[in-house]
Structures are given as structure tokens and as C-alpha cells.
């Protein structure tokens, strides 16, 4: 029951979600008493690879091929399929990055595997079977599933398991040569536009989010300032993105991005069920709203009933003070 983790590089770096997938793979392999390895596609600095070792994976299949410099689903599916097959792995683990989410279903078909998407936590064992938990109904339900095949592909829900980088070991890189013909793909990536150099929303551990209660785009300065101080990403509700007070990629919720940070601060957001669907798996939720009846307070851990224009500047000062006293 050996485990292979697809350790995805993003511009030569491993994101937290990737290291989380590695940590998950190691824990699962330990539970099963089996081997674990990782596959890394593309260029990166050796020190990046050491992070995987710290997560507990020494054996790394390394694929360097000019065809694979840009991601396409078909190419990446083919490479990972070869490594899994040639080395007899029967469990493949990935993060839930957009690119990983785009290849796992297809890979499960190629590998004749069962596909379990977005697991939260390690499986429990009952009658010798691994029972996995995943979220369903947009965070409103927890589903328990079992695979009916012995080969499985698993993606790990972002920020559900955590990164455990406390291991030591010798890095053992196994170069993997892969010949890919040019013509297998008719999708041609042309350009990548990164939205900002700041923290990516799906990866962020902390998120400060604003809603229609902030009245207009000119009032986002304090949101950005608070986020900056906390090292948080910024987000917004759907209507705010719809009227273009904020860019679309910041829109969280049922129809936007689903996030599960450690801390979500919602300012001037009512807490409509479609908004909650994108944020309800955040570990701690803080709500600031001038209406004490705002539905969001029902899902909050901490709340302040008050006018954002008074409360947020005070919060900013409080954070500054706290930082200065450290």
C-alpha cells in the first residue's frame, strides 16, 4: 500500500498546501506501515527539496523535461501515471491547488483507481477498511466514504491537516526520464497572469474580508492595512466583486473561491448562506457588523457589534501596539 505524493512546484517553490499533502502522505504511510515517496516535476533549488525531507519523504522522483515546463493536464497526467505504474504505488496524494484538482480525476481513470476528493484528516480503520472523511454540501455536511478498489487517488483539503516539518533524513533523488512526444496535446498555454504578488487567497492562513457594509472601494484602505499587519490575504463578498469594488478573484463563497484559513475576519458582511459556503471551514471566524442580528454572528467565534469605520481603525491600532510590545 505504498504512497506517492505529487509535490507540485509553483514557480520553483512548494506552497504550504503541497507540504501539507506531503505531511499527509507521510502520516498515511506510517499508519499503513508502508513506503512513501514524492514526485517533483520541474526546476527548483535543492533547498526546496529539503523541505520535503523535513516532512518525512526522502525518496524523490525528479522529472526534468523541457516539455513539462508549462503545465497541461494531459502531459502531467501522463508523467505521473508512468511513475505510479512503473513503481507500483497504489495510493497517490495531491493538494487541492487548481492544477492538481485538474489532473486528479483524469489520473484516477488512467490508474483505474478510486478517487476521493478533499479529504479532511487521516482515515479511521474499521473492519480493516480505511474510512475517509470529506466535506460535502458546500461545508454543510461531512461525508464518510470508502474506496472499493485497492488503488486510490486522494486530494487533501487545503489547511485541514497542517504541515509537520520535524523529520530528518537523507535526500535520495531518483531522476525519472520520460519521453513525451510533442503532439499529444492540443491545448497550448500562452500566458500566465499572476493577480498579485501578495498572499494567495487559497493558501492564506489568515484572511481579512469586506462586504457591502464598507460602502465603496475607496474604503478598502483600512482592510488592506489590517490585512498587511496580520500577514493576511484580502477577500470580499460576491456583490462587492460584482460591482467591481474589488477584483473578481477575491470573491469567496459558493460561487467564488472556497477557503479554509486559520482566521477569517469578516467586516460588513451579512453572512448569507452562499457566502458562508465558501468560508465556513475557517478555523476561527471573527465578525464585525453594525447589526447585532446579522446572520454571520451565528457562525462566528468572536464578534464585535459596531460600525466598521470606527472599529477597524481601533483594531489596526491595537495590532500595531501588540506588535510593538513584542
Amino acid at each position: 500500500m505504498s504512497v506517492l505524493v505529487y509535490a507540485e512546484l509553483d514557480s520553483g517553490r512548494f506552497k504550504k498546501a503541497t507540504l501539507e499533502a506531503c505531511s499527509y502522505g507521510v502520516a498515511l504511510a506510517t499508519m499503513r506501515n508502508s513506503d512513501v515517496a514524492a514526485i517533483v516535476i520541474g526546476e527548483c533549488h535543492e533547498s526546496e527539496l529539503l523541505q520535503i525531507v523535513e516532512c518525512g519523504i526522502s525518496k524523490v522522483f525528479r522529472v526534468l523535461d523541457s516539455h513539462l515546463e508549462t503545465f497541461t493536464t494531459t502531459k502531467y497526467i501522463s508523467v505521473i501515471q508512468s511513475i505510479v505504474r512503473e513503481n507500483g504505488f497504489n495510493t497517490l496524494i495531491t493538494s487541492q491547488s487548481y492544477n492538481s484538482k485538474s489532473i486528479t480525476p483524469g489520473l484516477s481513470i488512467r490508474l483505474k483507481s478510486a478517487f476521493i476528493s478533499g479529504v479532511v484528516g487521516l482515515p479511521r480503520i474499521e473492519d480493516g477498511k480505511e474510512i475517509y472523511q470529506r466535506m460535502a454540501f458546500s461545508g454543510k455536511g461531512v461525508e464518510e466514504v470508502i474506496a472499493l478498489l485497492s488503488d486510490i487517488v486522494i486530494s487533501v483539503k487545503t489547511n485541514s491537516f497542517g504541515v509537520n516539518k520535524n523529520k530528518t533524513g537523507e535526500l535520495n533523488v531518483i531522476p525519472f526520464n520520460f519521453s513525451l512526444s510533442d503532439d499529444v496535446n492540443d491545448i497550448v498555454p500562452k500566458e500566465i497572469i499572476k493577480t498579485s504578488s501578495t498572499i494567495s487567497l487559497t493558501d492564506a492562513e489568515k484572511v481579512v474580508s469586506g462586504g457591502r457594509g464598507l460602502k465603496g472601494p475607496e474604503n478598502w484602505g483600512m482592510i488592506e492595512e489590517l490585512a498587511g499587519l496580520l500577514g493576511a490575504a484580502t477577500a470580499c463578498s460576491k456583490p462587492v466583486a460584482d460591482v467591481e469594488w474589488r477584483p473578481h478573484h477575491e470573491h469567496v463563497g459558493q460561487t467564488g473561491i472556497q477557503i479554509s484559513p486559520d482566521l477569517y475576519i469578516a467586516i460588513g458582511i451579512s453572512g448569507a448562506i452562499q457566502h458562508l459556503a465558501g468560508v465556513n471551514s475557517s478555523k476561527v471566524i471573527v465578525v464585525i457588523n453594525k447589526d447585532s442580528e446579522a446572520p454571520f454572528f451565528k457562525s462566528a467565534d468572536y464578534g464585535i457589534v459596531g460600525d466598521a469605520f470606527e472599529v477597524v481603525p481601533k483594531l489596526i491600532n491595537a495590532v500595531k501596539k501588540m506588535k510593538n510590545s513584542l
Binding site: 506552497k15 493536464t73 497526467i77 487548481y98 485538474s102 480525476p105 484516477s108 481513470i109 488512467r110 483507481s113 478510486a114 478517487f115 476528493s117 470529506r134 466535506m135 460535502a136 454540501f137 458546500s138 461545508g139 455536511g141 461531512v142 461525508e143 464518510e144 466514504v145 470508502i146 474506496a147 472499493l148 496535446n185 492540443d186 491545448i187 498555454p189 500562452k190 500566458e191 500566465i192 497572469i193 499572476k194 487559497t202 493558501d203 473578481h248 478573484h249 460561487t255 467564488g256 482566521l263 448562506i273 459556503a277 465556513n280 476561527v284 471566524i285 471573527v286 451565528k298 467565534d301 468572536y302 464578534g303 464585535i304 457589534v305 470606527e310 481601533k314 483594531l315 491595537a318 495590532v319
Partner: protein
């Protein structure tokens, strides 16, 4: 252009989700079902093409039992030309994808739309599986799509950005917000939908690969702790003491 839109029949986004006492399934009492919002983006995009050309045919398909027919009728009211229902209770993503693939494989669709995920299963599995089973090129998480003859330019969401791609039809595209605006069916559409064909197809025997044992509600929050708006410092110090910030 022949377009297929895969429609998943899901509880309305405002539904309070509860489960049957045995945990095996959703408690459907009082639940309104709708077209999965992401699938509706795909259908709306298909309608944009149809409005620009007389040569566009839109089929919609759902794997589901008879309860899903009102949802398919709604898709017809929005403007699809015909609807197909593969008559079975879906067991897992693999069986859904296999059933749709088996049905669609010789039908020469130029474009297949799915949602990025269904808001009940949230697997995001059917599109990638279907593309693989049909041997279709696959663009996931599409936020923009322009088709010119056989040439396609698409934008897809990636972590912290967008990717611009070129492709050729035929193609499978999983849709998310941005690709089109939702449409509200008008009276004429609703009337017309009644006489459009909705064909029921017998489901092949497909073995599922994943078995759902049970559902339960997630553990709720224990209650909100309030801090005064005069003194938000307290909140900051609590968050800091707990190591949250």
C-alpha cells in the same frame, strides 16, 4: 456546433442541509432543487453561442431519477434544445462520468460543458473523468471562452492568477464564475420547454468505485464571544494569546 451541458440536480443554495436519521442520504423534505449554479454558467455560455449563430444545438444531460426532470425542464426553459436523462440514482463520480461518456461517445459533440463542481458532492471529479474517458481535451476552471471556428481561446483560474490557453474543438470545459452571466428563463422559454423533447435513457450497469457510508452535519460553532466596539484591543489580545495572530 453541437454542445452538451452536463446538469447536476442539487439543493438550492439557501437550503438548510439535514440528513435522514440513518445518515445515508439528504433529508429532501422541503428542499427545492435547482440546476447546479456552475452548470448554469455553462448553459448560459452555450446560450451566448446560440444567440450568435443559427447553427448551434444545445443538449443537456443529467444522470438521475425522475425527480431531476423539473431541473432539466428548467434548462430547456433557459434555451436548451433537448434534454436527456440517464435513469439511475448516481452512486459516485466515476459512475456518472462513465454513463455520460458511454452515451456521448459517438455523438460528435464539439463542446461539452460541466460545472467546476457540484454544490452537493463538491468533488470536482466528473469533468476531468469525462474528458479522460472521451479522450477530449480539457480546460478546467474556465472563466472566459471565445470560440472562432474551431479555434478556442480560454482563460482558466490558477492559484493566484489566470492562465490564457489556446485550444481546438472538440473540447470539454468546466465552468466557473466569469464565463457567462446567469439567465432567468422568460415566459416564452417556459412555455416552449413543455414541448421540447426530454428523452429517458436506460442506464448501463456500472460499478462505482467509491461508496458513501454516511453523512452527518459538521460540528457547529459553540457560540460567538462578543467584545465591545469601544475596546477592540481585548479581541486582539485574546487572538494573540491563543496564538491565532
Amino acid at each position: 456546433m453541437n454542445i452538451l451541458v452536463c446538469i447536476s440536480h442539487v439543493p438550492d443554495t439557501t437550503t438548510r442541509i439535514t440528513f435522514e436519521p440513518n445518515g445515508k442520504s439528504l433529508n429532501k423534505a422541503g428542499v427545492t432543487f435547482v440546476i447546479n449554479p456552475y452548470d448554469e454558467f455553462g448553459l448560459s455560455k452555450a446560450m451566448e453561442f446560440k444567440e450568435k449563430s443559427n447553427d448551434v444545438h444545445i443538449s443537456v444531460i443529467c444522470v438521475g431519477d425522475i425527480e431531476t426532470e423539473p431541473t432539466l425542464r428548467k434548462a430547456l426553459a433557459i434555451g436548451a434544445d433537448d434534454a436527456f436523462r440517464i435513469d439511475t440514482q448516481p452512486l459516485d463520480s466515476f459512475s456518472v462520468a462513465t454513463l455520460i461518456a458511454e452515451w456521448a461517445k459517438n455523438k460528435s459533440f464539439d463542446l461539452i460543458f460541466t460545472g467546476k463542481e457540484s454544490i452537493d458532492e463538491n468533488s470536482g471529479a466528473v469533468p476531468g473523468m469525462l474528458a479522460e474517458l472521451l479522450g477530449f481535451s480539457f480546460i478546467s476552471y474556465a472563466t472566459k471562452l471565445d470560440v472562432n471556428g474551431k479555434s478556442v481561446i480560454a482563460y482558466r483560474e490558477i492559484d493566484n492568477g489566470m492562465e490564457i490557453l489556446e485550444a481546438q474543438l472538440p473540447l470539454l470545459v468546466s465552468c466557473q464564475k466569469g464565463i457567462a452571466e446567469w439567465r432567468i428563463p422568460n415566459m416564452r422559454g417556459i412555455m416552449a420547454a413543455r414541448s421540447k423533447p426530454l428523452t429517458v435513457i436506460n442506464a448501463l450497469q456500472v460499478e462505482n468505485r467509491v461508496n458513501t457510508l454516511n453523512f452527518k452535519q459538521p460540528e457547529g460553532k459553540t457560540g460567538c464571544v462578543y467584545y465591545s466596539s469601544d475596546n477592540p484591543e481585548e479581541l486582539i489580545s485574546v487572538l494573540s494569546t491563543k496564538g491565532i495572530i
